[in-house]
C-alpha cells in the first residue's frame, strides 16, 4: 500500500514538472500573441480590454525594421551557403581522415559553438579593423560564417556515422572513382544531415545578437539588433506584433525542417548533445 502511495506521489511530481516545463515555455508566447492585438495605446494590465491591429500597422510602417530585415536576410543567406559548403566538405574530409590530429582538429573547428559569442564578436571587430575592414557587411558575414559553420559540420558528421562504409566501397568496386563515389553515393546519403545543418545555420545566423551587436554599424544592422535598439528606446507593443510574425516564421521553418530532414536529425547526437 505504501508502494502505491509513493508511486502516486511520484506521478504527481513528474506531471507537475512536465506542466511547469510547458507552462514556462508556452504561456509567454500566448501572452505575446494576445498583447499584439491590444487596442490600448500604452502597456496596461493583462488582459487587454479591446483588440485592434494598430501595432501591426505601426510595425509595418516602420522602415527601420525593413532595413534590418534586408540586412539579416542577406547576411544569413550568404553565411548559410558558405557554411554549408565548408561544413559539409570538412565533415566528409574528417570522416575519411586517418591522421592523428583528427580529433583535435574537429574540436577546434567546433569550438565557435563553445566560445562565448561576445568574445568572438569583439575579437572579429578588432581583427577586421586591423585588416582594414571597417564596413558592417563584410564584418557581419565573417562573424556569421564562423558561428554557423560548426552546426553544418556537426549534423553532417552525425549523419555520416550512420552510413556504412560498404556503400562507398561498393561504388569503388563498381568502377566509380573516389570523388564520384562521394558525390553520387555518400553525399546523397548524408543529405538529411546537411539540410538540417543548413537550416540550423540559417536560424542561428538570423537570431544572433551577441556577434551582430559588435559588427553592425549605423547603416548596416541586422533585425535583432534593430529590435534590441527599439526595445531599449521605448518598450511598446510593436515588438509583440513582430513576435507573432517571428512565431509564424518559426513554425514555417520547423515544418520545412521536418519535411526536408526529419525532426530527429536535431535530437540526441544531431545538433545538440556532444
Amino acid at each position: 500500500m505504501t508502494k502505491r502511495l509513493a508511486d502516486a506521489l511520484f506521478g504527481s511530481v513528474y506531471y507537475l514538472f512536465l506542466a511547469s516545463f510547458i507552462g514556462f515555455s508556452a504561456i509567454p508566447v500566448v501572452v505575446a500573441i494576445v498583447l499584439s492585438f491590444d487596442a490600448r495605446s500604452f502597456i496596461g494590465p493583462f488582459p487587454p480590454t479591446a483588440f485592434s491591429l494598430q501595432w501591426y500597422e505601426k510595425f509595418l510602417a516602420d522602415d527601420y525594421y525593413y532595413q534590418g530585415l534586408a540586412t539579416s536576410l542577406l547576411v544569413s543567406a550568404i553565411a548559410t551557403v558558405a557554411s554549408t559548403v565548408l561544413g559539409a566538405l570538412a565533415a566528409l574530409g574528417l570522416d575519411r581522415a586517418g591522421f592523428r590530429g583528427r580529433k583535435v582538429l574537429q574540436a577546434i573547428l567546433l569550438s565557435p559553438l563553445v566560445v562565448p559569442n561576445v568574445v568572438l564578436g569583439f575579437g572579429i571587430l578588432m581583427f577586421a579593423s586591423r585588416l582594414g575592414i571597417i564596413d558592417g557587411m563584410p564584418r557581419l558575414i565573417m562573424g556569421h560564417v564562423l558561428i554557423t559553420f560548426p552546426y553544418v559540420m556537426r549534423t553532417t558528421a552525425a549523419s555520416l556515422v550512420g552510413i556504412r562504409s560498404s556503400y562507398y566501397e561498393a561504388a569503388l568496386s563498381l568502377g566509380a572513382r573516389p570523388w564520384k563515389a562521394l558525390l553520387q553515393i555518400t553525399l546523397p546519403l548524408a543529405r538529411t544531415g546537411i539540410v538540417a545543418g543548413a537550416i540550423f545555420a540559417f536560424v542561428t545566423s538570423f537570431d544572433d545578437v551577441g556577434i551582430s551587436l559588435f559588427l553592425s554599424d549605423a547603416f548596416t544592422f541586422t533585425l535583432p539588433v534593430a529590435i534590441l535598439a527599439q526595445m531599449r528606446a521605448n518598450l511598446d507593443l510593436t515588438i509583440a506584433a513582430l513576435s507573432v510574425i517571428f512565431i509564424l516564421a518559426t513554425i514555417l521553418i520547423i515544418v520545412l525542417l521536418d519535411r526536408l530532414a526529419g525532426l530527429d536529425a536535431a535530437v540526441g547526437r544531431g545538433v545538440y548533445g556532444r
Binding site: F46, L86, P116, D207, S243
Partner: protein, 285 residues
C-alpha cells in the same frame, strides 16, 4: 582505399576560411589585452611595452562579483533546467504517443528557433509588473520591488532556452537505455518511483552531466538575457565585455575579460565533458 589527396582537398577550404576567422580574432584579442589602457582612448597604447595590468585589475573584488553572479545564476538555471527537462525527455521517449512525440519535439526545436529577443520580450511581458503572472515572484516569497526580481527574471529567461536544449540532449540519453531493464526492475518488485530513480535516472547520470555542461556553457556566455531583464541589477561577464566596447571604450580591459571568459568556457566545456566521458566510459557510450 583512402586517398589522402582527396581527403585533404575536402578539408582545405574549411581550414583556410575558418582557422583564420577563429584564431585571427583570438590573437588580436590576446595582443590587445596586453596593451596598457590610456583613459579617453578607445584602443590600447601601441607604443608602450606590453603589460599584464589589465588582467591584474580583473582580480579586484568589484569584478569578482560579476564572475560570481554569472556562475551562480548560470548554475541555478542549469539545475532547474535539468530538473524540468529530464521528465520532459523521459515523457517523450517512454510515454508519449508517436504523434505527441512529434509535436513535443517540434515544439522544443521551435522554442530554440524562435528569436531569443522575442522570447525574452514575451517573458518580461508575462512575468513583469503588469503581466498575468506578475504574482509568480510573490509565490516564491520575493517582494516585487526587490532586486531579486531581476535575478528571477534572468533565471526564467535562461531557463527558457536551457530547458529545451537540455531536453533534446537527454532524449538521446534515455533512448539508449534498454526499456527491458525498467520492466525487469518492476517485475522484481520495485515500485515505479524506485525504478525511475534507481534504474532510469541512475543510468542517465553521464547524459545528465553532459547535458548540464552544455546548458551551463550556454548560460554563462549569455548577453541578451541580463541585458533585457537584468534591470542593471544582474550583469554577466558578457555584459561587462559589451560595456567595455560600447560605453566605456576600454578595449584592452574588454579584451582581457574576453580572454578570461573564453578560457573559462573552453575549460568548463572540454575539461568537464572529457572528465564525464572518461569517468563513465561504459554508460556514456
Amino acid at each position: 582505399m583512402k586517398r589522402p589527396g582527396l581527403t585533404a582537398s575536402m578539408l582545405w577550404p574549411a581550414l583556410i576560411v575558418i582557422l583564420p576567422l577563429l584564431f585571427g580574432p583570438l590573437l588580436v584579442l590576446l595582443h590587445e589585452s596586453l596593451k596598457p589602457h590610456i583613459a579617453g582612448r578607445v584602443g590600447g597604447d601601441a607604443t608602450s611595452a606590453l603589460t599584464l595590468e589589465n588582467y591584474a585589475l580583473l582580480a579586484g573584488p568589484e569584478y569578482a562579483q560579476y564572475f560570481l553572479d554569472t556562475f551562480r545564476i548560470g548554475l541555478i538555471s542549469t539545475v532547474l533546467a535539468l530538473m524540468l527537462g529530464y521528465p520532459m525527455a523521459h515523457f517523450i521517449v517512454r510515454r508519449a504517443s508517436p504523434i505527441m512525440r512529434r509535436i513535443l519535439i517540434a515544439s522544443l526545436i521551435g522554442t530554440l528557433f524562435l528569436s531569443l529577443i522575442v522570447r525574452i520580450y514575451a517573458i518580461s511581458m508575462t512575468f513583469g509588473s503588469l503581466g498575468p503572472l506578475a504574482g509568480f515572484s510573490r509565490l516564491l516569497g520575493i517582494a516585487p520591488t526587490s532586486p531579486s526580481v531581476a535575478e528571477l527574471m534572468v533565471v526564467l529567461g535562461l531557463l527558457n532556452t536551457t530547458m529545451p536544449l537540455v531536453a533534446l540532449t537527454l532524449i538521446g540519453t534515455i533512448q539508449n537505455i534498454n526499456p527491458r531493464l525498467e520492466d525487469a526492475a518492476l517485475s522484481l518488485g520495485a515500485p515505479h518511483w524506485k525504478t525511475f530513480v534507481q534504474i532510469t535516472l541512475a543510468m542517465s547520470v553521464p547524459g545528465i552531466l553532459s547535458a548540464g555542461i552544455i546548458g551551463y556553457a550556454f548560460c554563462i556566455s549569455n548577453l541578451v538575457v541580463p541585458m533585457l531583464v537584468g534591470r542593471g541589477f544582474v550583469l554577466f561577464v558578457s555584459n561587462l565585455i559589451y560595456f567595455r566596447f560600447s560605453e566605456v571604450a576600454n578595449f584592452p580591459s574588454g579584451a582581457a575579460l574576453s580572454i578570461v571568459m573564453m578560457v573559462i568556457s573552453l575549460g568548463i566545456f572540454y575539461g568537464l565533458l572529457h572528465l564525464v566521458r572518461t569517468q563513465w566510459q561504459e554508460a556514456g557510450k
